[in-house]
Structure formats: C-alpha cells, structure tokens
Symmetry: D3
Subunit: 280 residues, 6 copies
C-alpha cells in the first residue's frame, strides 16, 4: 500500500504491516532542524493510528549516520540556541525557551507514544538527538561501527529532549550513564551492548536493517491486541509502582482479553497453524 | 520438623530453617490451573509467618520443567480465557475478568510479600507464569539448559500476572525486555545471565538445587532480623523515591537495631564464633 | 590554590578545578566513626559551593582500603549500636535511633547532593559504608583487587545509610543485588563491572587514581553549567516519572540555555579551539 | 433475600439491592475486639462480590454508639497493646506488632475496597476506630448528637489503622485535622459538617438511617457499571496524579462504556421511563 | 484588537489583555458535540500563547446554560456512545474508545494547560461536561440560580473527561464529592460555595460576568511573569510531593526572578504608581 | 527553665513543656531579612530536639503584625531580589538564585520538620512570608482583625518559599487558593476560617495567644510518643499514597507502641488519674 509522502522522512512498507521510517537528509548526516522534528511527530502519530501498520523500524537514510544530532548551525540561527540580543528580559526569554523545549520534547516523545512497537537501527554517527530518539524506541539494535555519544555537554548544555530523563530508566548502569552523559565521549557498539543500551549488534547497516525487518515481521504476525498491549503495559510499569501497574494491567486486560485473538491464538497453537488477526 | 502437606506442592525442610517448595505436577510440565495458584498463596503465606523458616528455595518437581506456564487447555475451559457465550454484557464480563486477574496477581505476589528470602531455581521449560513468579522471587538462578520465554503474546494477550510490571524494575536492559516480551521468543541461560535476569547459571538441576540450598543455608545462618529487614527495605526502595525510602529505612531500623542480634553478631565477629539467633 | 584543612580527610587540588578527597585514617583501614561522617558532610558541602572546583575524585588514603566501613568497635561504645541499659523505654530509644540514622544518612547524601560530579575510586577493602557512599557518587571505578561487600547483615542489621535504597536504582540486576545484600558475601572487581556497579576496572590504585584524575580533568574542561545541569537532571530522573522529569528539564534549561557557554562551546566546536568557561 | 448470618454484625437487606450492616455489640457500645474486625472483613468482602447488592449502609446497633472504638480492656489482655513480659527482643516484638497492625489495617480497608458504595451513619459515641472505618466509607452522614473523636492519643499511641492516613486526603482543612488528631478532643455534628468530614446531619439515628436508606435506594436504582466505576475512579484519583488517573480512566471506560446500560440509560432518559439494569 | 473567529465559540477582548470565551450554541443549551471540543482546544491553545492576553473568562452564551453537557443525541449517533453493531471485537472497540476518550480529555485539559489564568462563570444549566471543564479552570464563580450536576451516572457511565480525576484534588470534602458523583443529583450555588467548589456566588449572570471581568482585569494588571508562574506552580503542587514542588519552584524562579518586573513592581510599590509590564 | 537567647526571636517557656516563639522586630512589623530566617531555623531545630519542650506556639511580637513579610527594602539591597549588574551570565545568576531559594525554603521548612506540634497565631499584618511560614505550622488560629495576603505577585514574583506548594495540600478549596494567590488581595479572619485555612478565630491577640497556650498545654500533657508520632504520620500521609502511608504507619508503631506510655495512658484512663509521661 502507498504511504504518505514526507519532506524529510522516507516512509515505506517493505513488508505487509511493517513500516520503515528513514530520516532523509543524508547529505547533512541526517542532522535535524526544527521543521524536521515537527514533521517526525506527524510521521509517528500517523503510523500510531494506521490500522495497516503493526511494527515500525526506524533508521537513517544513507550509510554515514543515523543522525549526527541537532544541526548546530541551523540551531544557532533560529530557535533557543540563537544568541539573544541585548535587552531581552530574562524571564520572558525563559518562557520562550521552555515552550520551545516542551514542543521539541513532545515531538521526540511521539516515538514512545506510538502504539506500535518501534525498532531503532543505530548506525554510523548517532550523536545527541540520536540518543534522545532511540531511548523512546522499544528495541535498539546497532551496527558494529556505530559511533554513539550524548553530545550535548559539548555544546554547553544539558541534554533536554529526553536522554537524561529516559536513560536512567532503560539502562541499569548509572555509573556508565553518568560517565557518558557528563563526558560526552563517543562510545561504540560493544560498549552499548555490554551495558544494555542496545540488545543486538550487527555486522553492518544492511544486516541491521534486515534483522530489524525480520523482527518487525515477527511482531507483525502476532496478535496486535497482545503486542500493543504489551508495549503499553511495559511503558506504564516504568513510571508507576508495582501495585499501581498491576491495577492498571488488570483493567487493561479486562477489555483486551475479550478479544477473539485469544481463541485464534490458542487454537492455532494447538493446531500448529498460523493465525490471522484482524486489523487494530 | 514436619511440613504441612499440600495437593499441588511439595514442601520440605531439607536443612534446618530452610524450606524447599516444589511445584508438583511434573506429568504436565508443572503447568498451572486455578486451584494451584490459590494453593501456592497458602504455601507462601504460611512460610512467611513460620518462625522455623528463614530461607526458601522454589523449584519444579521433575526434570523437565520449572513450569510450562498456564495450563492453556484447562484455562480455555474455565476462567477468563474461556470463550464467553453470546449475549454477555461487555462491561459485566470485564468486571469478572478484572476480579479474576487481581486474584491471580495476588496469589503470585505472595512470593514477593513472603517475609523470608526466596531463591528461585529455573530449569527446563520455564514459560509464561514461570517468569511472572520468578520475578517475584529475590534471587533467580538457572540451569544451563533452561528454556525461558514470556509466552503470553503467543496466546493472544499481554502478560498480566506481573511479568510486564516487574521485569522493567528488576532488569536494567529495556531494549532486551521489550524484545523478549513482544516476540515471545525462547531465550536461554547465557542470555538470561548476561542481561541480569538470573545471577548464576549451574550445570544442571541437581547442581542448581544444591547451590540454592547452600545459599539458603547461608542466609538462614544469619540474623533473621537483618535478613528479613534487608528484603523489605530493598523491595520498598524499588517503588519509592530515594528520600522516601531513606525515611522508611530510618524508622524501620529504629526498632530493628534494638535487637540483641546486633550484639551477638558483633561479638561473634570479634570472637570468630558462630552466632545463634532467636526465631523471628 | 590552598584547600581548607580537615582532621579526617585530605583535600587537595591536584589539577586546576579538580579536588581530590581522601579518607585519611589508613592505620584503621579508613574505618568511620561519627566525627568522620559529620566532617565529611562539611567537605562535600564546601566543595559543592566552591567556584574553583568543577570535578571531585574520592578515594581512601593508603594502599589497603577505600574504607573497611563502620568502625564497629567505636560504634559499640557510642551511638545507636551501643547496647542500651536495662530500663530504657523502647519508643524513646527508637526516636533517638531514628534521629541518629537520619543525621548519618544526611552526611552520606552530601556526596549525592554535591553539585559537582564525584568520581569514586574503590580500592582494597571497600565494605559496608563504602557501598553506601560510593552509591551516592556519580561514577564508580575500582582496582582489580578491590574487595567489596554489603557487610551490614553480618553485624545483625539491614544497611540503613543508603545502600539498600540506592543500589536498586543504580544497578539493573536485582537478583544480584538481593544476593550480595542478603549474603554479605565479598565480591570483586570483575563481578562489580559485569553487573554494572562500577564502569571501569584498573590495574591498581595508582592507575585508578590516575584514570579518575584524567576523567575529572576532562569534565572540568567543559562548561560547568552543562556538566552540573547534567548531574542534576540525571539525579532528578531517577526519582520522578518521565513526564515529570521532562517538565523539570524544560524549566531547568529555560535559564541554563541562556548562558554564554553555549555560544562559546559552539564557536570553539566550529573553530576547533578550546573554550574557557567562567566559574560557577 | 436471606443474608448470611454473622456473630458480631447484623446484615440485612431492608430494600432490594441495599444491604444494611450493623455493628452488633450494643451492650459494649459496639466496641471492637480482634475477632470483630476479622469478621468485618468477611462481611464487606462478601458484599463486594454479591451480585444482589448495589449499595450498603453501615451503622451501629442500638442507640448509644456507632462504636466507642477499640475495646481497650480486651486489647490490654491480648494483641499488640498487651504489656510485653520482660526479656522479649525489641525487634522481634516489633515484627509481631507490624504484622498485627497490617492485618488490622487490611480489615478496615475492606470497607474502602468494597466495590459497592458504602454510606456510613455516625451516631452516638463514634470514637477512635469509628473515624478509621468511616474514613474508608464513601459517604459519611451523622446525627445531631454524635460525639466524634480521634481518641488514640489518649491511649498513648498514634492512630495506625487509617485515620491519620486518610483524613488528610478526604478533608481539606489540615489545621482542623491536626487539632482534633493531636488533642483527641470530642467534636460534634456541626463541626464535622462545617469542615466537610460529614456531608449531612440528621435529627437522630432513625432519621439518619432513613436518609441513608433513601440515598442507597437511589444509588441502587442506577447502572451498577456506572456507580461502581465512579467509586473506583474517585478512589484511584486520590492516590495518583491527574495524568495518571486520566490514563486509567480512559482504559477503565474502554470496557465499561461498551455496556448496554448506556443505551438503556439514554433511552429511558429520553422516554422518561425507569431503566432496569442487569446484575453486576 | 481583533480576535480570530470560531464556529462554536465567541472569543472577544472586552478589556485590554482580557479574553472572554463564550460557548456559542445557546439554542441547544450550549451542549457539546465532538467538533466543539476539538475547536475549544484550539481556542485555549491559541490564547495560551497569545502575548496580548493575560487573563481569560469562560462562560456560556445566552441566559439558560453554561452548558447542559454532552449533546447526548449527537453522541448516540457517532463516537463512543454510539451502539456498536453486532460482531465487533471487544478489544478492538476498546482501543477505539480509549483513543477517543484520550482525545476528548486532551481537549478539556487545554483549559488547565493554558498558561493564562482562566475564570469560569457557571450559570444556568451546568451539567456533566460543565463540571469537567470548570474543574480545569483556575477560579470558579457562579450565579445564584446555577444548576450543577455530575450527570454521567445517569447516562450509564462513570465520568471520564476529568471530573472524577480532578474533583478530589480541588475540593476537600470527599463525602460530598462521592455523594454528588454517585447520585448525579442536581446541586445549587449555595452548596457549591459551602463545600468550596466555587469561591463566589453572584446575583445573576450579568453580575457574575461583570465580577469575573473585574477579577480578570486585576490579574491582567499584574506582572504576567508572576501571575503565570503562580498558576504553573500551584498546578505542579497538586500533583507532586512538597519536596518535589519546592525543588521545581526553586528552579522555576531561578529564571523568573531575573525579570525586570520585580524591580518595576517593587518601585511602583514604593512610589505608589501603577507599573506597566511588558508582554509575555 | 531558661531558654537560649536569640537576636531576632523571643523564645520563652510560659508553661511547663510549652515554648513560645515570637518574631521580635515589631518596629518593622516583624518583616524578615536573611539573618532572621537563618536564625529561625536554629530556633526550631533546637526546640525540635529539646526534651523539655512538647508543644510550641508561634506569634509576632507587638500588636501590629505577625509579620508584614519580606523586608523588601533589605531584599532589594542584597540577595536574589537585588538588581543584577549588567554583564552577569544568566545561567550563573540562576544557579545563585536557586541556591538562595533552597536555603530560604529549608529555613521555613524547619517549622514543618520540627518534631513538636507548632500552633501559629496569625494577627495584624500577616503577609507573604506569614503564609509560607504558617502553612508549615500544624494548627493555625487567628485574630478577628488579621489581614492576610499572599502578597508575592505584587512584587513581581511567584511565591517560592512554600505557600504555592503547601496551600493546595492543606486547604481543600482550590478556586479560593487560585483567587488569593493570583490576585494578592487581602483577606480576613472570617474568610480564612470559612475556607479552612485557620481553624479558630479569636477576639484579639491576647485571647488568641491565651487560646494557643491552652491548646499547647493540653498537647503537652499527653504522651509525647503519641503526639509527635501523630504529627509525623499526618505529614507523611500528605505526600504519599494511602497504601504507602499505611505501610509506614505500621512500621512506625511497631516501635512506638512498645512505649510504657500506652500502659500509663490506659491505666490513668481507667483510674481517672492524670498520667505523667517521660521526656522524649
């Protein structure tokens, strides 16, 4: 089926029910400017509700980079990093910055809020925003030669689009997190794998995309009620107590378990057939 | 000393102050039906208050499985996975499901609420409910040949008895958690060890039980005031802020430190003797 | 520049903007008594506000120990572990203990509250309090021969100065945490590295301090607005939901991004020069 | 229909779908001993799941008291307020107390957890436990001559069965709450009404029970899906952030709104008829 | 200045820097259908960022109603209350409902998220959605003849657009809240004032709007940095612990206090002049 | 007994075990400058631990004011409200402000953290800081002629020392809170009483102090274990869920109930004698 066409993203459906989102500014190492993150929200919000899509893979176009992060040159000419002229009132500038940061955060969070699972393929330069965005994805895999960095300290600021908020929740090695966030040093695939930031390392981009597609195909073959419920409940658990999440889970499944997918799945488990689940 | 006798569980005391709980339905790969999880709550509630027990190990009977999970066949004939007949009101069915799920959750949570440390030995098939239950245990070890899986997606539902709630709190690799929970794929001992789901891998079930027993013996030799306080405070920390848990800890120890165990333990530390602590 | 002089700590500035704090009771394996932890709070509170300091390394003096923990002999003669004489009212004793524990906790928490990043070098004996204190540090590295243990259970009590509260938040392997906290067993560098309690292992103390100094030097060369903001935001994230931390982050940066450090850092990034940042 | 018979409680169904629970120890001003609160949990747990019951009123038997609170004489001879003999270990006694208090709390909380709305009629002496229990009810009304008091301070302890936990959440006048909880002074109907602890004051017990019954009859005439959902969502809101409760609410209603009660209720609204809702 | 024109809302600026938003469907008692709440979000989002607006009043057009709530007839023909045809899968319907409810909640929450203070004038029929929306406003005043009701139970559902979530946080009389939410009964101005749902009662709509305008005029005359910061900090406090909100407040004011409004306000306080504050 | 002497506060013990703290700058309407709030922390920290003190009353010296709030003139010459000279870096100024605000907050919070109950007598001018401080007290009473105001908006800032954080937790009328905080308008005793900000109104200062002393005398006559535990548990409840506070309460009382005060209190209740409790 045809996908809507975007200015800064390639969105294709290489397999039934699987979307592939590519950041499409390879000439600039897929660096982001404001128009791009606003469009990205549209991409993921659309896929979130698209009944034909059950799993998404997210990568950069081209061989060099997932994304080199913020396009610093663009940022220094507009937006909050643009130098303020003389007399502006600090508090009024601050309100403007806060609004801008919140809008930027919302755009990045659209990846996390997307109801379908998102598999992020980190490859080549994957700096700054690359960490913010991939931390919103569900599954992170990378290539052997990936160059990762929480780069923000090196442009004089604390990362504010999600990295510092989400890394401590998704990786259980705070000594390492503090190290890479405070030093802004580049780290590679092996290190990312060892500490649990990515769960798989592939030979190169081709293999990584191939692996992500297979994984997405597998997820897309399962009950979307079960898969999307699982994503939601895992995300809920991250931010609530055990008691609160158990309560939420019980209510969630009080509707979800009434699906016919359960019967279909159980039957095909017994009959060793491949179930076909309705759209969601 | 004699242990009460149960229908679906073998409960023995292989060592002084150490209980061994075995799921006892080996002919069916220790698969669970409703009567079993209700009885399991009784087992752990009883051990929790038994003054003679200071540490517990939990395994499956037989060589093949810790547990293959829910007895799907039984479940499809009763309980919430049973197909509803025609005209039932969705909201009323939902309330019934919610009650059922909460009761099931409560039974599984009894392992976590048990005041004594629980060491879970995962071996053979350890699917679905095996992950829910072992996530409630304090220490997880496994055999080399264990076959683990968060299986629920494959029967068309999101796991609702605790796995999705607790895994993100006890394993610091969310990319991996999302992977195994969304895909329902089987994973083995090495992977479980690498990501930190289990903290030890043993050659086979015999060795694993032996290791668990030694560990339990060690814990049982220590001050029960100290050991059980440590379990409680670690569980509290998981669900509260640092400030809140420090406050709770101070209050907890305001009574606990008044125990004579402290003097006994310090003296025997100096005298290099083995302390004997009173029942708790 | 000269550092204030302390009774139990050596505080030096081996490199510009870098402080080195050494626990200075090597003859007693740097074991702590009450006067020491109270002084330690002064040390870290002072460094926290000192504009000349941008990074701190923390180690023990001498070759044998970071710290062997609480000086149990001293503790048994004063403070809460001193045996209470006969007739004291339990509730009144409890209030005294609670106050004492809270004061002790506050002293240890000063490491975490210190606005500057703290790199902790664990070496030799690093028992009990060593874990409480290093868990407050930002980055933990250790020597090959370090001997680590959550020792409190062996003196009859649950650790109450921070270990049980912070370990479950900074290490993503709860099975391992329960194991070492309940058993009080000694563990080494390799294990600490594998589970993510430390992020680097060095050959010996000399190398470890050298490595820590280089790391500190690097952090001290960066924008203090960015570095200290990053520490604060990562600590905030640990104790709040994602939504709450994103909101806090936006407000934090609404002032912080107005710093001239951003321009300086971006310019020097472009010009490949080394920026010089004002004191903070 | 017949109600189960209890030793310490009168449980009747004065109106269809309405249960009346009376504390039945009028000779002792309905003072509680342990057996009573354990039985009370059974009463409310049973009503919670009874499909024939849609609203509950809760009062004391006799004219003199809702309840005078804990039967102090009984309590001084058993349970946690019984004087401990000489040599008991403080920490072990503490664990016993904690277990006892938690069990007592659980029994009282059964009123709050009851899925059906509970209207509490406070009359005559309503001391100590009367406040703990009525704070769990949904609606509190009282008689003109009620004598209310948070009495626990006068027996040397801080109320621990729920009053201190719930009052600050259900009454928005913390200065008043601190006043009555710290002073243990008796307060009357007018004061209770003014600060919002009760929402109605009636002439005498007869009128109060009559009013409660009419209120219960009204609630019982409405959709049980709507009524019981409303209770659950209001209780959830009390303990969660707005964002978290909105999320929970959306999931709750995703099943509940599929009820046929919505259609029935809307139709009868249009047709001005009285709808009849199925059991829940 | 000219205001944008909307289909379902009248938006005027009766005084400098003060907007008046009127629900504009008086012929239907200002009852809402989906298009209206979506447009309402646009109205409040726009005002939130409009530098010319510093305070907002919100009322219904016409004499009869603020709003009679959901247009039940419209709702029964589209959206989630529309009867589902036969064979739809319960879980899939549930996901659709959840999305719909969340979107509806988002629209209503735009009143709370609006950075400018919103004064809500409740008059005439103010049912259902009227409570959801006014609970998002900052200040609620009403007319003597207002007819208020949490009506949802009477159409067979638990209110899910915010009433049940916010009422327990903004009114400190949970007995009363449970009463009106469970019974759906109509209540008037005096009762709303007594329990603290509204903070002022006016003779009639004209007087109420006049009072609201004066109040808005006063707020608009003050420093927008101070006024909008106060709204944000009060909203933050509602959902966070005291410690967490104090921390947030300190960071918020670290930028806000740098405003020139402080100097202006202090000077004009001393000089008894009227300060003029810049746009925000 | 003699009380320590302070520069800005009169601290006396008008009754056994009762302290009276008076703000002692009547010539300036008891307006605060920095030295005062730092000293105030010492006053309350000292009383908190003083075994001879069991209740505290807090008022202003002189007839005119509890306190007119911040000494704006002093504040404009030092501290964070002092106008910054030209070239200061916004982010560095912000860090300084944040530190200053946090220190100020800590001083005010000492009233809340004080282990003994604090009764605040509001009289005459009670502006700004008067609300921040009295919101930390346990019980608030006032004189008929008190003039209260959340004044901060009128000096161009959002109150940041506690008012905006605590008011929404201690008064259950958010419409009123928003009104007085946004408008900075003066309100009187009757209004404060009606909304529940104060719990008693007295004829004049003399009567109010007399009433407060009687109340304090009563609290001081009761078990300090019970009274101070009650304060702690009510404060804990304000910031935690019901489940979490019940858990904390159980642990708190596991030590506290072991006090001999329970026996003393129960005996004297039976014997109608006046118990004498040991110091705490």
């Amino acid at each position: 089926m045809a996908s809507p066409s975007y200015k800064h993203f390639l969105v294709s459906t290489p397999l039934p029910n699987v979307a592939h989102v590519q950041i499409n500014r390879p000439a600039k190492l897929n660096a982001y400017h404001e128009e791009m993150w606003i469009e990205m929200k549209t991409v993921f919000d659309t896929l979130s509700l698209s009944p034909d899509i059950r799993a998404i893979i997210f990568s950069g176009a081209g061989d060099k980079a997932f994304t080199a992060g913020l396009d610093v040159q663009a940022a220094s000419q507009q937006g909050v990093l643009k130098q303020q002229e003389g007399a502006a009132d600090v508090a009024r500038v601050a309100v403007g910055i806060k609004r801008h940061v919140q809008e930027f955060q919302d755009c990045v969070s659209s990846i996390e809020k997307c109801e379908k699972p998102v598999i992020c393929v980190l490859h080549g330069f994957s700096f700054g925003l690359a960490i913010d965005m991939s931390s919103c994805a569900d599954i992170r895999i990378c290539t052997k030669d990936v160059k990762l960095a929480v780069k923000e300290v090196d442009i004089g600021l604390a990362a504010d689009i999600g990295t510092l908020t989400r890394l401590p929740k998704i990786v259980g090695n705070h000594s390492w997190i503090k190290d890479v966030c405070l030093s802004a040093r580049v780290f590679g695939a092996e290190e990312a794998y060892r500490v649990g930031f990515v769960s798989q390392v592939l030979e190169n981009k081709e293999k990584a995309v191939e692996t992500a597609l297979k994984m997405a195909e597998l997820l897309a073959s399962k009950s979307p009620v079960a898969v999307q419920g699982t994503k939601e409940l895992l995300n809920h658990a991250r931010d609530h107590t055990v008691a609160s999440s158990l309560r939420y889970t019980g209510v969630w499944n009080s509707a979800a378990i009434q699906t016919e997918d359960v019967t279909k799945a159980m039957l095909s488990g017994i009959k060793k057939t491949k179930p076909r689940f309705e759209k969601l």
